[in-house]
Amino acid sequence: MRIGFTPEQDRFRAECRDWLGANVPAERRPLNAADALAFDRAWQGKLFTAGWAGIDWPTRYGGRGLSLVEQVIWLEEYARAHAPWVGANFVGLNHGGPTLIANASEEQKAYHLPRILSGEAIWCQGFSEPGAGSDLAGIRTTGRVEGDELVVNGSKIWTSFANVADWQELVLRTEPGSQRQAGLSWTICDMRSPGITIRPIRMMNGQTEFCEVFYDDVRIPVANVVGGLGNGWKVAMSTLSFERGTGFIADQVKNMIEVDEHIGRARSSGLLDDQRIAEDLALLRAEVAALRAMTYRNVSEAARTGQPGAEASLIRLFTSELAQRVERMAVRLIGDGIVDFAYGDDDPVAEYLRGFAQTIAGGSAQIQRNIIGERLLGLPRGR
């Protein structure tokens, strides 16, 4: 085992650092949806043109064709340079694209992947429904096969970026009368299709990031099904494995940097003399270091075996709860400053409030514990 990188990887890191140092925008990501979208697209376009998009994606789809290790190096440097949050490109880059790479036809990949990397196509994820949250197999939105089209009716909820997206990972019940995991299909839905109504939902931090989406006889070509009609559950599980796995590496490094900043701030304000704060910060610093070690372990295992380790669910659970502890600490350090929080503020309080999503979205902490208990530890399912 070793933690050092190869000279080649060190050179790659230096390259990342140099480019980011010269190109990271000085202004913050705007808050309102339209400006934020323009910002996200422009930044992603810049990354793409300079060859920094899709570090570990195949070159024939516009990626760099390097390994997961280089992807990790890039994300570490990305966070260290305080480069912008991926924003509206989150779904496409972190799980839409990877799902296509693993499951889609050549034609689907050739069309969509370069557009995701260039920031031209924004994606969103239409999995959750009012009646199907943790219990995703409860999906009721239907896609009736009519010739070479699917006719879609129903609704999705909590769809992040639906209001700005071009495409959607849409999971539908395509086999009439099918139950649970059977009869579902994972489709690529054009968000500009007639019959789609989008209602943005305001979150408790004042920002509008997710939406309710209604489908009224929306037509999607059957050719847009990924992985075959009726195989949607399998494809959706691969999406979730990306969403819960490598998609969070950037956040992990961000946590590390934030804890160091918290410590610096607590030191200069004198709060570090408070024994309880000092102890909690010391623990957080150890934990974020351990998170990097866990990620390295996982990436190393993936490099040896070709797939992320079964322990990805452990990382996911630990990451999400740790991120919340880091955000909570930021708010503790503000003290009574939290009282002044108002909608529209873009500050640690807004981050702290948004952070509740960490243990809800993409499989709640309780669901992760079920997965760890049953799949990793082999405990029986409840009756």
Partner: protein, 296 residues
Amino acid sequence: MDLHPGPDAEALRAATAEWLVSRLPLDRASNRPAGLWDELEAMGWTALTLSEDKGGPGLDHATEALVFAELGRHLAPLALISTAVARRWTGLDRRAALAIPDGAAGWRVLDPEGADRAIAVADQALGLFAFTSGEARPTIDLSTRQVRIGDASLDPIEAPAALLHLRVLLAAYAVGAADAARDMAVEYAKLREQFGQPIGAFQAIKHICADMAVQSAVARSQLYYAACALQEGDADVGFYIAAAQMLAVRAAIANGRANIQVHGGIGMTDEARAHLPLKRAHLLEHIAPPALRALL
């Protein structure tokens, strides 16, 4: 960067585990067979990182940590740690006990049997002293005994890496104790039935076990990282090792406690083994605890 044990390290770990299952079963932790130490020495565990010209196999610290985590899982003697460190950094060629401060001037010499030298840990520094073992008395850890002595004259061990090495091995033992507790709890949760099903089917128990798995995985990952940092002479090695030690001891205590809860009434008995990893954890908590400033 590669934090996955390679095939050689894994083979050594597996062989260690196999030997320990037959020779050092947990349920006999308070009553080890006579002559055990000679057997342990013969296995070469106190010389793993010694270079070949000094008679060792010249393994790296990460492989050593992997093996010591296995030893820790079986609550192997603490003297394996002190002897390995004394050998590597002072050239001592026999068993060394492990001493921690007892009040202002005295020492608790842990695992003193058969030793006349102890590695002493105080004030973030390491030394060696000679002692004469009297009648050994119990510690909270049923597999470790102690003698308490007054003053001793300490020969400082100059190599700064010696204390770091000791901390890595302590962290490895704690990771082992955390794993032992996790495995015991999971095994019991699959067997014990109440309300017509294994208790592990209840989420209240399942989620306790899941949290134990997280604790163990976090601590083990940082242990590997820290051991590599020591091997590679990383500039921040002091922090990485302090973090490993803190997280490992916390994991051992958290898992040790949870294990007893998962066992219910039988977990409170002397006869069941559930208390053993927790007690080891509470001993490890007081051996060379990392300073807060090493972490900030």
